[in-house]
């Protein structure tokens, strides 16, 4: 048997999960009390897993670097969560959600995992409503839905523009119930700095108390990593400032394979950057593309006049606007998937049509929507011949009800009123589809070590559809891991408490302490951010929205050089035994400096364009799809899982061939 056994159960796709659940080993309630599970990260995946495992009776130890689990970055997800409920009667089904997700992911995800995800999606909505998550409802009291990119049905459930917040607070409340019972021991302001393996199995972690600086040993019968994605490898992204890849990268260095690092999602609708001081980028939810139309001017003279401030976008006539998504993709229009929308924006801006001073912005315009809603409202209210102003007023009120918080956020940042003038947007790094390789059980290549949520690679292939991240995080935590981990833990009932005074814990703690002391004593000449920004620039310029072999080779060499300079010249002020945010950053950036190189190596190896990974060498040369991304199923229909061998450049590739039995591999067309 090869190392990469995906452990997908046999049988027809639609029966796999049910049959599998019926046959896995269970742990009796009395034995669950003797089993400890560590969960690192308390976002949607980690939080929901912690709550559910504790409900089942396991002793859970949960860790987060923030001061409360309620602050995990899942909270920033805006638009919604998908579920195949078919409440709208528009033809949705488990199969269709499965199909859309596989197609949206450009046929680079594992069929069985995705089908299971679609299958449990409806349960998530039921569970969240039962927890008191206040989803949006219609006047009849039923749940409301909206549409997201890459699909032709309305299956997205939402809570205004704060769906991630409400779902996270739901998981947080479920955790609180278990914390109160003592079934979850919560470690806030703690960061995992290594995993401890005993006899090949994950048996615990080394964590740093971020308040006191103390290094702690924690043991368990299984370890679950739910630490999110690695988007901050770009320095600028929509991730939180503290979002990091350290937990995922540390387990990679201890034997967990890392899959498809080059699959990164550059989200099309973010607020453009304004200067070098910028610390992060802000997303404007994809849901805005339900009502907003994306355009740039057709005429170059208009572009130049706008940049000089001589012309306002509202003064440009309809016929002089290029609604380029509607032009290029008439079937999906403004709701094409994210990778397609991002590349199209880049194409226009590269051609010189960008509408702000940096030349990197396009318009997202709500004028048509405001008019459309305004006319509808006027009719509903029985107004005869309403004035233009009245229509605008009525329409703006509807837009405000739908997206008010997003419009307010935009106005606070950009200082322009998006009800009156179109928003400016540009793509930014948002989500990472790649991550730690896991099998059907969500177990990594290390026994007893699991990885869930964005941190794993499993469900989104080469591109994630909108509103599917929340679905996957909660599916993994509430409905998948609690079953699959039981199968493993059923063999641990006789193990007994894992001691933390073994040589393995000793060794791991020593390594962590040495690294911390190194940073504190290095006294170099540059701050951590200096190096992080350097890395980010290489990543964005050479591993960004479009990639080519020459750039990627350069990127690998340059990242290595920055890494070497970092270890010589990094300056970390303060001490190890106190709260020290610079020390925290140093450890995270050290890991990004390795991950970035593997990222480039993976992108170089994958000589095809698929999803978020666009290789300039692989495009359609003629026909209707001319200029679009060209996938190569004959040579690349596999998961690239990398094994750590010291330097990132020396990582060894293992392939998991992807088999599509229930779906025909087709070119992804949104035209």
């Amino acid at each position: 048997m090869s190392v990469l056994d995906s452990k997908v159960p046999k049988g027809p796709l639609k029966d796999k999960w049910t049959d599998y659940k019926n046959h896995i080993d269970l742990v009796n309630p009395a034995n669950k009390r003797n089993i400890d599970v560590i969960i690192v990260g308390t976002g949607l995946a980690g939080g929901s897993a912690a709550a559910t495992l504790a409900e089942l009776g396991y002793n859970v130890k949960a860790f987060c670097y923030q001061d409360s689990p309620r602050r995990a970055h899942s909270i920033a997800a805006q638009g919604g969560i998908n579920a195949a409920k078919n409440y709208q009667g528009d033809g949705d089904s488990t199969y269709r959600l499965f199909y859309d997700t596989i197609k949206g992911g450009d046929y680079r995800s594992r069929e069985a995992n995705v089908y299971r995800l679609a299958e449990v999606s409806a349960n998530i909505i039921d569970q969240c409503v039962a927890q008191g998550v206040p989803f949006a409802r219609d006047y009849g009291g039923q749940l409301d839905n909206r549409s997201f990119g890459g699909v032709l049905v309305s299956r997205t459930f939402y809570a205004k523009g704060q769906t991630g917040q409400q779902l996270l607070l739901g998981a947080y409340s479920a955790m609180n119930r278990q914390i109160a019972r003592g079934k979850i021991e919560m470690f806030n302001r703690h960061e995992m700095l290594d995993v401890v393996k005993v006899d090949g199995k994950a048996r615990g972690i080394i964590a740093r108390n971020l308040v006191t600086g103390e290094i702690e040993r924690h043991s368990a019968h299984a370890v679950v990593i739910a630490s999110g994605g690695y988007g901050n490898v770009y320095f600028l992204s929509t991730n939180a400032m503290g979002s990091n890849a350290t937990a995922a990268w540390k387990i990679h260095k201890k034997g967990a394979f890392f899959a498809n690092p080059c699959y990164t999602q550059i989200h099309p609708t973010c607020i453009p950057r304004s200067g070098d001081y910028q610390s992060k980028l802000t997303l404007m939810s994809e849901s805005l593309r339900n009502d907003g139309r994306i355009w740039v001017p057709k005429k170059m003279e208009d572009v130049l006049a706008i940049r000089e401030g001589k012309l306002q976008p509202t003064q440009i006539k309809e016929e002089d606007r290029d609604y380029y998504l509607e032009r290029r993709y008439p079937a999906f229009g403004n709701l094409v998937p994210r990778d397609v929308a991002s590349r199209a924006a880049k194409e226009r801006c590269d051609a010189g049509y960008g509408v702000n001073a940096t030349g990197e912005a396009v318009y997202l315009d709500f004028k048509s929507a405001i008019e459309r809603y305004g006319n509808e409202q006027a009719k509903l209210q029985g107004l005869n011949n309403p004035s233009k102003e009245k229509i605008t007023e009525l329409g703006a009120a509807i837009v405000k009800a739908k997206y008010g918080n997003l419009f307010q956020m935009y106005e606070k940042i950009v200082d322009q009123d998006p009800y009156k003038t179109p928003m400016m947007i540009y793509p930014a790094t948002h989500y990472t589809m790649g991550g730690v390789w896991v099998d059907y059980n969500l177990m990594t290549t290390v026994e007893g070590l699991y990885c869930i949520g964005e941190a794993n690679f499993s469900d989104h292939g080469a591109n994630r559809l909108g509103a599917s991240a929340l679905m996957q995080g909660l599916a993994d935590g509430y409905f998948v891991l609690p079953y699959t981990i039981g199968d493993y833990l059923s063999k641990e009932i006789r193990t007994g408490k894992i001691p933390t005074d073994s040589p393995e814990f000793e060794e791991a703690e020593k390594e962590v302490t040495e690294k911390i002391n190194f940073f504190i004593n290095n006294k170099g000449s540059h701050s951590v951010d200096y190096f992080h920004k350097k890395l980010g620039k290489i990543m964005w310029d050479k591993c960004g929205m479009s990639r080519n072999a020459a750039d990627l080779k350069e990127a690998m060499a340059e990242i290595k050089a920055v890494r070497e300079e970092f270890y010589k010249e990094v300056n970390v002020p303060g001490a190890a035994n106190e709260m020290n945010p610079e020390l925290e950053k140093a450890g995270r950036v050290a890991d990004f400096l390795e991950l970035g190189e593997l990222f480039a190596k993976d992108a170089l190896m994958r000589e095809e364009s698929c999803g978020g990974h666009f290789r300039e060498e692989s495009v359609e040369l003629d026909g209707e799809q001319k200029g679009e991304a060209k996938r190569n199923d004959d040579d690349f229909a596999y998961v690239a899982a990398w094994e750590y061998k010291g330097e990132p450049a020396d990582a060894v590739l293992h392939k998991e061939q992807l088999e599509f039995k229930d779906i025909e591999l087709k070119q992804r067309s949104y035209k």
Partner: protein, 248 residues
């Protein structure tokens, strides 16, 4: 613009702490307040001094981590924003800006501008949940219809980000807006009814135990709340609390 910053520096919980003056120059009006703090910290690191510790994470106004008391106001002079969403265009060249941590007995300072808000978590442990297990067999999400108005009002209460600006702004260091928001969210939904009596009693008891003060209807919390959580939530909590105690 060039600015003078007066910042609270405190090495640790036991340290007495003091205000220290710093100068920053060439600050762009488009910067966020925290980006201005990044500039200061980069400056301090390059001079070999210790940077100012402050809590921050999402930098888009939703995680509730940032918590600065700026010129005598939680999250500074703008309305409806967290510190990370405050922009330097709210200030002008030559200004002196005073920056302190959120101060309350129940929020002890950990370091510089970082405070310990775990008291908020403990209040949530006491009752901020609906007791439903994850089974996959809960009833269909549309089985209980919920009036749109109630669902929307519950949502408005649920948007609280738990930053603690309400406590920092209140002369009594009261947490009643924070607790009222959670109690209201569940009180307005049918799913929250079963445990309503115990929930409000337990959460209020924990709130008192943590050392938060009482509400005297000044309304500063509502003004400073970055999410516009309404005082109505306090009234609703009082009503829930009263009826819970009558019911026993």
């Amino acid at each position: 613009m060039n600015l003078t910053l007066k910042i609270w520096r405190q090495q640790g919980p036991q340290d007495k702490g003091k205000m220290v003056d710093y100068k920053v120059s060439d600050i762009s009006e488009h910067m966020s307040f925290l980006e201005m703090m990044d500039v200061l910290n980069e400056q301090l690191i390059n001079k070999g001094e210790e940077p100012v510790a402050f809590d921050h994470d999402c930098r888009e106004g939703i995680c509730g981590m940032c918590s600065m008391y700026i010129n005598g106001e939680a999250h500074g002079p703008d309305r409806g924003v967290t510190t990370c969403q405050l922009h330097m265009r709210m200030f002008k060249d030559g200004d002196t800006i005073t920056i302190e941590p959120f101060r309350a007995k129940a929020f002890p300072v950990i370091k510089d501008l970082v405070v310990d808000r775990s008291s908020f978590d403990r209040i949530q442990h006491a009752g901020g949940f609906i007791s439903v297990n994850t089974s996959g067999n809960t009833q269909d999400a549309n089985a209980i219809l919920i009036d749109k108005h109630d669902a929307d009002t519950a949502m408005d209460a649920a948007t609280c980000i738990g930053c603690g600006a309400c406590v920092a702004s209140c002369k009594n260091s009261s947490a009643m807006l924070f607790v009222g928001a959670k109690v209201s969210q569940y009180a307005l939904l049918p799913q929250g009814q079963v445990e309503a009596v115990d929930r409000v009693k337990n959460m209020v008891a924990q709130m008192d135990l943590e050392g938060f003060g009482n509400c005297t209807n000044t309304g500063a919390c509502e003004v400073e709340c970055p999410k516009g959580i309404s005082l109505e939530n306090i009234a609703r909590m009082n009503r829930e609390f009263l009826s819970a105690n009558i019911k026993g």
